[in-house]
């Protein structure tokens, strides 16, 4: 578990891995979106608008996955005092927030021609908006902590407590009457016809790889800034 505690070991893996994740992600996303735009049929009810699924669903999964990552990193920081945990959580925050925002915006765009409205305060949409607000609060808290490498315990506790929202989002469509549909894909079932479904896993993997590359880049930047701060401190003390 502590193999990455020494940043140099982490960097030794992160540096070569970053371009692979980035280019792999770009390639798969390009294939998935081109397929979703030109190779798949429209849906019997939703028509062409179903193609928005290939950007909206990955954004939703990564927005939620991002906060899950923050919660796990926060747990590792608080329980195991893992030194890279706080850095990882901070690196995930803005990308996670951006994907959540993309989910909300693309969802709204999808809603207008299908449901007939840009927005409705149902359980799914409201809880996703709450997630965006939680991200913004988390980013503010994490930035307020004075040292870059550093472990703000308040931010970590917030990251952990905020995870309460993730099962709420997931089960919102089952628990409450919502305008948003129930899940098409789960561990036990799939109700999307294969001809429409196939670019979606490619998109999910592609967006995830790209997300990974972005998080690694942000972690590397935070670690470099921590090294600079430490060096300046040593030089000042000398």
């Amino acid at each position: 578990m502590h193999i990455f505690a020494n940043p140099n070991r982490f960097l030794g893996i992160a540096r070569p891995l970053t371009p692979w994740l980035a280019w792999g992600g770009v390639l798969l996303v390009a294939v998935a979106l081109a397929s979703g735009l030109f190779l798949t049929p429209p849906e019997r009810l939703q028509g062409e608008s179903v193609r928005i699924m290939y950007v909206h669903v990955p954004a939703a999964w990564l927005g939620m996955g991002g906060w899950t990552g923050i919660a796990i990193a926060s747990l590792m920081q608080l329980v195991w005092r893992h030194p890279l945990a706080a850095v990882a959580a901070r690196a995930v925050a803005f990308p996670g927030a951006l994907f959540t925002a993309i989910c909300l915006v693309t969802g709204s765009i999808w809603g207008r021609p299908t449901w007939g409205t840009w927005w409705v305060w149902d359980g799914r949409l409201t809880s996703m908006l709450v997630l965006l607000f939680l991200y913004i609060a988390y980013i503010a808290l994490a930035d307020a902590s004075s040292d870059k490498g550093g472990s703000s315990r308040v931010a970590a506790i917030f990251g952990l407590v905020g995870a309460i929202n993730i099962p709420i989002i997931k089960y919102s469509v089952d628990w409450w009457n919502t305008l948003h549909q129930t899940a098409s894909i789960s561990l036990t079932k799939n109700t999307i016809d294969g001809s429409i479904l196939w670019p979606l896993p490619i998109a999910l993997i592609g967006f995830s790889l790209l997300f990974g590359a972005i998080v690694l880049m942000r972690m590397r930047a935070l670690l470099a800034e921590a090294r600079i701060e430490a060096r300046l401190k040593r030089m000042a003390d000398a």
Binding site: P41, P42, E43, R44, L45, Q46, G47, V50, M53, L75, L78, V79, W80, P113, T114, W115, G116, T117, V120, W121, D122, G123, L160, V161, A163, I164, N165, P167, I168, Y171, W175, W176, N177, T178, L179, Q181, T182, A183, S184, T191, I192, D193, S195, I196, L197
Partner: protein
């Protein structure tokens, strides 16, 4: 490592408590957070008249009628338990169709007819290309509320 062990147990208890609180809160808010009422609730008399609210269900096939004035439409919403008549003056969304889900925004009249001032369409979680749907229709003779997911529009 006793201290670490203690911290882990504390953290897990905290996480369990948080998730428990979440489900408790959701359970308490179940009815207030519901976006719409259902025809079964209308039939049970638990839906107040004269108050703005939403009513959702599946549009009963064959129930859409246009009034002689050319603007007002009437249709019937159903969930598996009951039906509820709706009237509406205005433009319906593209996805508003018989056999598909709809959400009517408006008020329930004392005569039991829901007067809508806005209609939203609601699609379920099944996605299929158009050819598949017409193939399905010609092969099977489906009852009005048949099929998985049609009771939950």
């Amino acid at each position: 490592m006793k201290a670490k062990h203690q911290r882990l147990v504390l953290a897990l208890v905290a996480v369990a408590a948080i998730i428990g609180a979440a489900f408790l809160a959701m359970s308490a808010l179940k009815d207030t957070a519901a976006l719409f009422r259902t025809p079964t609730e209308v039939a049970a008399g638990t839906v107040p008249t004269g108050k703005p609210l939403r009513l959702a269900g599946m549009v009963v096939p064959g129930s859409i009628q246009r009034d002689p004035d050319g603007v007002t439409i009437r249709f019937v919403l159903t969930d598996e338990g009951a039906t509820a008549p709706v009237t509406f003056r205005g433009i319906t969304p593209d996805l508003f169709k018989e056999g598909s889900g709809a959400v009517a925004e408006g008020k329930l009249g004392t005569d039991g007819v829901f007067v809508a001032d806005n209609i939203l369409a609601k699609h379920d979680e099944r996605y299929m290309p158009p050819q598949m749907e017409s193939a399905m229709k010609s092969e099977k003779d489906k009852p009005v509320t048949g099929g998985a997911g049609e009771a939950r529009p």
